[in-house]
Symmetry: D2
Subunit: 345 residues, 4 copies
Amino acid sequence: MLVVMRQGASEIEIRGVVRAIEARGFKAHPIPGVQRTAIGVTGNRGAVEQPVFESLPGVLEVIPVTHAYKLVSREVKPEDTVVRVGNVPVGGREFVIAAGPCAVESLEQTLTVARGVKAAGARLLRGGAYKPRTSPYAFQGLGEEGLRILATAREETGLPVVTEALDAEGVDLVERYADAIQVGARNMQNFSLLRRCGKAKKPVLLKRGLAATLEEFLMSAEYILAEGNYQVILCERGVRTFSDFSRNTLDLAVVPAVKAVSHLPILVDPSHGTGRRDKVAPMSRGAAAVGADGLIVEVHHEPDTALSDGPQSITPAAFAALMDELRQIAPVLGRTLPRPAVSPG
Amino acid sequence: MLVVMRQGASEIEIRGVVRAIEARGFKAHPIPGVQRTAIGVTGNRGAVEQPVFESLPGVLEVIPVTHAYKLVSREVKPEDTVVRVGNVPVGGREFVIAAGPCAVESLEQTLTVARGVKAAGARLLRGGAYKPRTSPYAFQGLGEEGLRILATAREETGLPVVTEALDAEGVDLVERYADAIQVGARNMQNFSLLRRCGKAKKPVLLKRGLAATLEEFLMSAEYILAEGNYQVILCERGVRTFSDFSRNTLDLAVVPAVKAVSHLPILVDPSHGTGRRDKVAPMSRGAAAVGADGLIVEVHHEPDTALSDGPQSITPAAFAALMDELRQIAPVLGRTLPRPAVSPG
Amino acid sequence: MLVVMRQGASEIEIRGVVRAIEARGFKAHPIPGVQRTAIGVTGNRGAVEQPVFESLPGVLEVIPVTHAYKLVSREVKPEDTVVRVGNVPVGGREFVIAAGPCAVESLEQTLTVARGVKAAGARLLRGGAYKPRTSPYAFQGLGEEGLRILATAREETGLPVVTEALDAEGVDLVERYADAIQVGARNMQNFSLLRRCGKAKKPVLLKRGLAATLEEFLMSAEYILAEGNYQVILCERGVRTFSDFSRNTLDLAVVPAVKAVSHLPILVDPSHGTGRRDKVAPMSRGAAAVGADGLIVEVHHEPDTALSDGPQSITPAAFAALMDELRQIAPVLGRTLPRPAVSPG
Amino acid sequence: MLVVMRQGASEIEIRGVVRAIEARGFKAHPIPGVQRTAIGVTGNRGAVEQPVFESLPGVLEVIPVTHAYKLVSREVKPEDTVVRVGNVPVGGREFVIAAGPCAVESLEQTLTVARGVKAAGARLLRGGAYKPRTSPYAFQGLGEEGLRILATAREETGLPVVTEALDAEGVDLVERYADAIQVGARNMQNFSLLRRCGKAKKPVLLKRGLAATLEEFLMSAEYILAEGNYQVILCERGVRTFSDFSRNTLDLAVVPAVKAVSHLPILVDPSHGTGRRDKVAPMSRGAAAVGADGLIVEVHHEPDTALSDGPQSITPAAFAALMDELRQIAPVLGRTLPRPAVSPG
């Protein structure tokens, strides 16, 4: 932490700050400059004490230096974390695709989509049983019935299941039926939910909030790790800006930014990240090219009649075509992608 | 809803869209233009079906017309709603101030601050027993012990208590001890929490999320009303922008915007809205001047040693000075403000 | 400037940074911490050298400490600057209102509006002869003819004129006909234009860009002062966010932020800042209450037929009503406002 | 255009709007809905008249339907535009890389970098002779001397030159010495400059502003085309958000968005778009993968001593490695990239 004094701060004020620093058991390192004095602080815990010093007489501003996250940090654990969802490793050499419908609508729909995406090379099945919807009057998901359908689809296809939980009870159920618990963007700072996920036996897919900084995103992951669950996968899904052409602004630069400071794997969600079907394939290719560990994509066999988020879902055929493109891009970054199933003939 | 066709969309495409509209039981109203055709849709429910039409051949875009909120809308209830927190009416003639510490730290601290703000004219006591903190390592609040302290402070001062709940169990407790349940900005789209609040017997203070549009803000309130609790107070507390001089950007224009479309009262939180003590008084005056129904302000008798958000708390003395200014501004908008307690002498 | 080393940076890396600092003639002040070392830099000029150090081996980040602006800074000139536009002092005790049509359309229109706003208490006449329009096909202003009309309106009413220049030739003309040169938000970082304004004999009204930080806003003013023109008035007119209810987000907190670090006066433009007529009065009151030095407001006697920005213009009658409200709010901040003209009877 | 009436708008109000529409020579198409009436408007010119109707009694809102841009629109010209910079086609099959130093510092520096990037496969040389700098005290470029150096480097290497002009006089000079005129992000809505570029004989590279919507971006291009210069290349270089890890947020989704509505080519600037050297390669790969027509990249042989923007410049060696990756990604989108020069031996 660095405490910057105002120009013309008096000796008494400077000594006051030094004393305040030392009173908390930290060390003060005054740096007298030509224009003003700054005081380095060491021995403190992250940015927690920043407020205190900001209000002392003569202080212009306090600049935090150390980041508050620890367990998620690459400084603590230099090597990449590989999270296993069912039997699928996320964050390793393979570029992993989770695909499926936005919402689980029926067993038939879910099976149709699951088989389609599996044939094309998806390794995980995504699908919502509990849907966080802006409107209380919109379809809210099938609930436990939806989870049962997902479990059946997994038995049929072998694809491990990723699905969202909205609250503590939801985590109980998702833990029982699925292979990874998704925390949605709107709940990224629902700290009760994060803590509950930190006690879960299943990995957690944590989506970045619409206005979350990298620091906040990682601190939310830290909540989960701090409770003992180290199996966390991050997911970029777009931030909110003034954009007039996409629902959100997919911030692909967060991928190398995460890789630089954290050991956790990160996926990209091009479906929510753009909100428009015609941008899903380009941004999926972009995500692979910037170095993401995989994708989570919405696929629906009849997107125009989907109960939820139809306009951002692509068809199984479009998904298969996208997979072909990804198979060419992934190797440039030293990644593999499974081959599509060969149709018997 | 208006479906806009591409330039040069064929007759077949236009008829396809008309048929799709009618197939859902709505009415189609084609408007042939010089450059392109648009098709009005009536009989639909809000924006829910927008996705479906966006993907039909020949469609350029679909423009929603009706807002999705109903119960919070002034079209449904033209007259202002007055919410009673304890015996204090919010949204009526009085400009109401909720004040108190960011976090409840001890009985003594809470009582000291509560007495101070009451003497200056505050009508409600605010203070956090459960604190949503970015870092899992920061002070998280005293929990139920904090709620007991707040209840004691209410008995001592007569000030009804507003305090935050972070989850369903928190609502149970806050409902028991306090007079209004606060839902924080980070939980504005925690729909499980909103639904639980919709069943609560106490009024709800709903804070706007950091990236929430007005539509989303009102839809979150709608969740609460839709469950049967009509006692909702909105609260603007700043949105996230690129600002380099305040923690958030306090969006005071949302006050007249809410007043235009909704009957619910709206407070302003200048403390979180700026994050800087020296901006609390100016933005509080600004909030009164734009027509807010009141404020929720952080006050601490020793802000520099506060366990939480010290740099945005003002002292009881600064608060009393602010109240004096507000007493001069509020009448310009036809509002009253209680006089300060007269010290006996 | 503070150079923060990575955890585990080697002694050699630290010495390398120290040497790089000293090689540029600055002083290095290493601060060894428990987790990592930081190195204070003194003797440097603002943030200019930041890039250089950021790339040295072992460096985590470089944190600038000193702001790059000088002449606009309150540290250099503690007392408020009062800028005279014609005979009207801006930044002194008086809360000054500039009012008039968005665009000058005709002599009659301009005179009608000018007389109306003068009668209500406006002290400056605003109106565009050169209009920066998003579309090349929209009305672009009357040009020099518009400037002549404004000059005539000044002779008739005695109101000094503020009007926008879009380029160097425009400044030549505006300088000749008007009393203050407006630099629009879109040109806030048109450095050629700023330099030309710095050589002008007339004061400059500099509008904040839609995505400008406070630092950038003040640096743009610094461009003008650095060329020798110290007569600069700042103007907040809204920043761009995701707002769905106003064209821009009027950032009133920038007013106290400017006052804290700069001696320059600052006005608020509630017309462009909201883009909606019904928000002009509330946000004008808000601007007065936060401590702005005045307003610049669009008034049109027939806003619905205005050639430009009609929906954000208010009528002379609405303007007079607003002035009445401002007369009650301004004194709370120790400000005066001229009385309206008494109609002879 | 669609005029939406308030719920309960009277017949008289509706007829008033219809009459106002017809009075302007447009056609009105009332669409009576269950909840409210909307009135389609045809025959109007884009969004220009929107303001007028918004203020009529009973009107809730006016929704523009037609976009205001014409010449840049794919509806007007369906096939892709290929712009020739010198002899290099931009927007065709080749993925084109412009590379070079941020600022021209000396002939030697420029030649060294130009030879390096040419050897690696760059097709255009970029470099600033006029630098728009936030601070008036920062290095502002060598001016005409810089242009002469660029011209010499072109003669030496054969690489056509792209360089920025800041004002009308700058365009005169750039037109004389260089092969394409760059309009920077800060000048995207400097309409005088755009008009001057519209009369230029050389192609224009137009960078997106930091807060520009797609509509505004294309309207600025429209200014240039409207003056007769159809040789416009768009360039995404990041928008401003709350990001805490990159200087700007590179909005790669704008690439497919532009491709969908406009025939103009679009490049991506990963250097300014991220502001950080370590993100240049990932975001360059991402730009190629989403379908951009090329890149404009800052390369410096000694980035740590660069006079401008060093921390976002990469070395010639890093650039050559990036080119190798791009050569593998481009073909996935049917693009070619020139091979690197073979070193003789």
